[in-house]
Amino acid sequence: MKQRRQTDKQDMLQGTLDMLILRTLAAGPAHGHTIANVIERTSEEVLQVEQGSLYPALHRLEDKGWLVSHWGTSENNRKAKFYKLTAAGRKRLTTERSRWRQMVAAIGRVMKEAAE
């Protein structure tokens, strides 16, 4: 996502980035560059992943045990660090997703009310 302000980066949107990463990796292992590309492409370039927060996020998720990583070779023969979802990570993704749905629904209701 496009970072709005430096100071806000720890807030809600950080949780959202975590969810997006987990979602992306649900399709299979990938390295940081691919993850950023996939998110950008799937969101039709709406969400710009700030690399500055992508990597710390990846390390945090790994620390929590939701991802595991290993060094491997990328599609164009470069060394790259691949991340893979763990079982715990998959479970986390489910919780995040349902929380996201509730949130969207809740916000949607509020916005509708306000619009009327």
Partner: protein
């Protein structure tokens, strides 16, 4: 997870850096694929990524744990400052290492020997029972078999009671192994159940093994089983030969089991091995008794009951003069460690003093440093360095020092322990000494405590927070840090005081050891070799056989080259009590009821007195013909004659004694010899010697005087004995000097260790004295310069400075002498032949300390008096 992360953050950071590089490379590749020039591709990739160091810092910070990070920073700072003063650092670490090492080692010993419970079932219910001797002189005498039987039958407070006694056995050789003399314990079948232990292999004794007509059985110690039988479990059920008789091995005790002491290598059934009559005698005191109290019964109850029983039996048998008068009890634990308690606590106190001195010294050094760094600290706090931060740094510094010291100390301690275990095999429970978790915790504890103490003292002294004063003080208006100097002087006085206490204790112990060593045993100790033999009953059944063996041995030994004189005796001087007998002089009227005369019993061959140098004062030694049933003569010691036959001619008088348990016989006194000591620390006792060739004694020590170093003839003599009987074990092959050495090990050990600690603290204290005075002189350089410029004489400056250093030393000396007097009273039990307030020791210590103090002070004082006033004033 999160703490671990902290220690991995450097690795994580490198990993991230690599990852970022990979990302950018990927981006560049993609840009090039889109048709951008490589230069532009690189530029765009970097722009798109943004600040790489920001990303890395983000992760680094997230990985950091704040307090830990602070601590590490402090540590690094401390390490850097310490590296800058290597002399100081090394000195402090060494001092702490010695203090902590000595304490840890002593604590380990004290804990293993005195604090850990015995590894037996229910140690709180195990007591030892003793008889009071008929004359009431010895409240803890060994017990007669008949008395034990009565206790066992009648005492209600005890669930069970076991009896045991020591006995030596000769294990026969064979299969290439030499015959060997082993220390064994005769015990009733229930000794192991009473102690709550079971054999590691095989079975324990059963009641059916413990009878005169049972088959002979033996249980081996783990050590003997391993050493002699190669840990072969097939030995169970097989026979071994003890004293030339077959014993079936029924069990092996666990390796940790050492009772009654570490020398015991096997256990046999007492009612099987000891003649029944001895087990029934009411006045033949031979054994030790362990009682296992019923739940709820107290030791006092048990003792009272045993006492009542003895008194009743005594009234029943008025004719038995040697019967006990009552009974006493003490805890089994106290019985085992008894003699080692006081010395160990004394040594622990000594090491405690050393540690305290070490800490004081370190505190002193730290104060000196913080004084030297006062300006730096003042500037730092003026620039906003928090007070807490500065204190933390100082405490951290002393903690680091003591931690390193502690690590070195622990190594020293384990080396010291190894040495103690090797040299003190005789100490009770020495086998249980080892470093365990508690000891490690103790070491860590005193390390932290020492570090915190030293740090706190120095912080307290520098923590006045008067920044302005500090800054002003260092600007030459007056000589600085008077308050701090006062604190250091107080510390010094305490240090000197403790040192004096230690020196006094060491001096007393050393002098008492010297007195002990110079005691005249009553015989020659140079170039005398001794060795013991025990003739097995099974092969030397008759008195004729025994006498013949001894006669042949001595005849042939006298012909060996290098042998000047040779003799045989049952117990050598300095080897201990060795048994005594009730005596009656038949020419005297009967003694009043309750009065008894005892004399120590020995048996000697005619040439013994000459061989060991005990002078024949009157009469003659035994004659050739005085052997077997014609051996009716006795030789008595001078003290025997003076005590029991005062003012009369003892020669020709008769002594009535039951020498060998076969009834009383009369012996005519034919000679009087000089007194000799059976125990080196006790005055001689009345002694009588019977003819060894009477043939009823199966043990004897061969005593050989040689023209050269006595130990060199040990081998030829052992060969000679093997020629006569190759199954005979020879043991305790020692020179007479070694015999004496063995009985003074305790005294020398205590004295030498205390002396070592005292010397250590003396060195520490004098280093402290020197350091403080040098510091004071350096501080006052300016002042001294001014004084000199104003006309002060060099001699006066020297005197002033010297007085400055000697005042705390003098104060400490006074304190120490007072403390030393108290300490001396406390170690009175360890002293032999000197008074606790021995003037020469106190005066000597005072002189030594003053001498050392003056030496330590002279150099700085002299330096002060040599100051060039012009230079001194320019110093700032």
């Amino acid at each position: 997870m999160s703490i671990l992360r902290f220690f991995r953050r450097r690795a994580e950071d490198t990993d991230l850096a690599n990852e970022i590089e990979a990302h950018i490379a990927q981006e560049i590749d993609e840009n090039i694929a889109r048709g951008v020039s490589s230069e532009e591709a690189r530029r765009r990739a970097y722009i798109k990524f943004g600040s790489r160091s920001n990303v890395r810092e983000d992760l680094w910070e997230w990985n950091s744990v704040k307090p830990l990070a602070n601590m590490f920073r402090d540590l690094r700072y401390v390490a850097r400052t310490l590296r800058r003063a290597p002399g100081f650092t090394l000195a402090v670490i060494l001092v702490m290492a010695l203090g902590i090492g000595a304490n840890t080692a002593l604590f380990t010993i004290v804990r293993s020997v005195l604090l850990k419970p015995l590894p037996f079932g229910d140690a709180k219910r195990l007591v030892m029972l003793y008889e009071v001797t008929g004359d009431g002189k010895y409240p803890y005498n060994v017990v007669a078999g008949g008395i034990f039987a009565a206790w066992q039958k009648e005492a209600q407070s005890f669930e069970q009671m076991a009896i045991w006694g020591g006995n030596g056995y000769t294990l026969s050789g064979g299969e290439g192994q030499l015959p060997e003399q082993l220390q064994g314990t005769l015990c009733s079948w229930n000794l192991f159940p009473v102690l709550g232990v079971q054999p590691a292999l095989g079975r324990g004794f059963e009641a059916s093994d413990d009878r005169p007509n049972a088959n002979a059985t033996v249980i081996l110690s783990w050590g003997l089983w391993k050493r002699r039988f190669g840990s072969d479990s097939a030995i169970i059920g097989k026979s071994i030969h003890l004293d030339a008789k077959a014993y079936a091995v029924i069990g092996v005790m666990p390796s940790w089991f050492v009772y009654p002491d570490a020398d015991t290598q096997l256990w046999t059934a007492i009612y099987h091995d000891v003649p029944l009559q001895v087990m029934k005698d009411l006045d033949n005191h031979n054994f030790l008794v362990v009682g296992f109290l019923k739940p709820g019964a107290t030791m006092a109850q048990g003792a009272k009951e045993a006492d009542t029983i003895v008194k009743r039996i005594r009234d029943q048998y008025p004719l038995l003069a040697a019967i006990g008068k009552g009974a006493n009890a003490r805890w089994l634990f106290d019985d085992v460690v008894g003699d080692y308690r006081t010395p160990l606590y004394v040594l622990l106190a000594a090491t405690g003093c050393v540690l305290l001195i070490a800490c004081l010294n370190v505190a002193n050094l730290l104060v000196a440093r913080s004084a030297a760094r006062r300006k730096e600290l003042a500037i730092r706090s003026a620039l906003g360095g928090s007070r807490w931060r500065l204190i933390r740094e100082q405490v951290m510094e002393s903690l680091v020092l003591s931690a390193v010291g502690g690590a070195v100390g622990l190594a020293l301690a384990s080396a010291a322990l190894e040495w103690v275990i090797r040299t003190r095999q005789d100490m009770a429970r020495v086998d249980t000494i080892h470093v365990d978790t508690v000891v490690l915790l103790f070491a860590v504890g005193i390390t932290l405590l020492g570090g915190a103490f030293a740090g706190a003292v120095s912080t307290f002294s520098s923590g006045d927070g008067q920044v302005l004063n500090a800054l002003r003080e260092s600007s030459r208006t007056h000589s600085g840090g008077q308050g701090k100097a006062r604190l250091r002087k107080v510390l010094l006085s305490v240090e000197v005081g403790l040192t004096v206490v230690l020196l006094i204790a060491a001096g007393l112990l050393l002098k008492s050891y010297k007195t002990l060593r110079s005691v005249d045993l009553g015989c020659i100790t140079q170039n005398v070799l001794t060795m013991h033999l025990a003739l097995p009953d099974a092969r030397y059944q008759t008195p004729v056989q025994k006498a013949a063996f001894f006669e042949r041995l001595i005849r042939e030994a006298r012909h060996l080259p290098g042998v000047q004189k040779a003799g045989l005796v049952t117990v050598l001087p300095g080897e201990g009590h060795g048994g005594d007998n009730l005596i009656t002089i038949i020419e005297h009227p009967p003694l009043p009821k309750g009065d008894m005369q005892y004399a120590a019993r020995r048996a000697a061959e005619p040439g013994y007195f000459e061989a060991i140098g005990i002078p024949l004062l009157h009469g003659r030694t035994f004659l050739e013909g005085e052997r077997l049933e014609r051996a009716t003569s006795v030789i008595v010691s001078d003290l025997f004659a003076r005590r029991f036959l005062p003012g009369e001619d003892p020669i020709g008088k008769h002594v009535r004694v039951n020498v060998d348990g076969t009834g009383q016989k009369d012996y005519a006194i034919v000679g009087i010899v000089g007194d000799s000591r059976s125990t080196i620390s006790r005055p001689p006792e009345p002694m009588m010697y019977f003819p060894l060739y009477k043939g009823v004694f199966e043990r004897a020590a061969l005593t050989v005087r040689s023209s050269q170093d006595a130990i060199t003839i040990a081998l030829p003599i052992q060969k000679l004995i093997a020629q006569i009987d190759e199954d005979l074990a020879v043991f305790h092959v020692l020179t007479m000097e070694q015999v004496v050495g063995r009985s003074t090990t305790d005294a020398s050990f205590n004295a030498e260790l205390t002396l070592a600690f005292a010397v250590l603290s003396l060195v520490l204290a004098s280093v402290g004295l020197y350091g403080v005075l040098s510091y004071l002189v350096a501080q006052r350089t300016n002042e001294i310069g001014v004084r000199m410029a104003l006309g002060a004489q060099r001699g006066e400056v020297l005197r002033l400075t010297l007085a400055d250093g000697l005042r705390p030393a003098g104060l400490g000396l006074v304190l120490g002498l007072a403390g030393g007097a108290v300490a001396a009273k406390m170690i009175r039990d360890l002293l032999y032949g000197i008074q606790p307030l021995d003037v020469s020791v106190f005066v000597g210590v005072a002189a030594l300390l003053l001498g050392v103090a003056i030496l330590a002070c002279v150099l700085p004082a002299w330096r002060a008096s040599r100051l060039d006033p012009v230079q001194a004033l320019r110093v700032e």
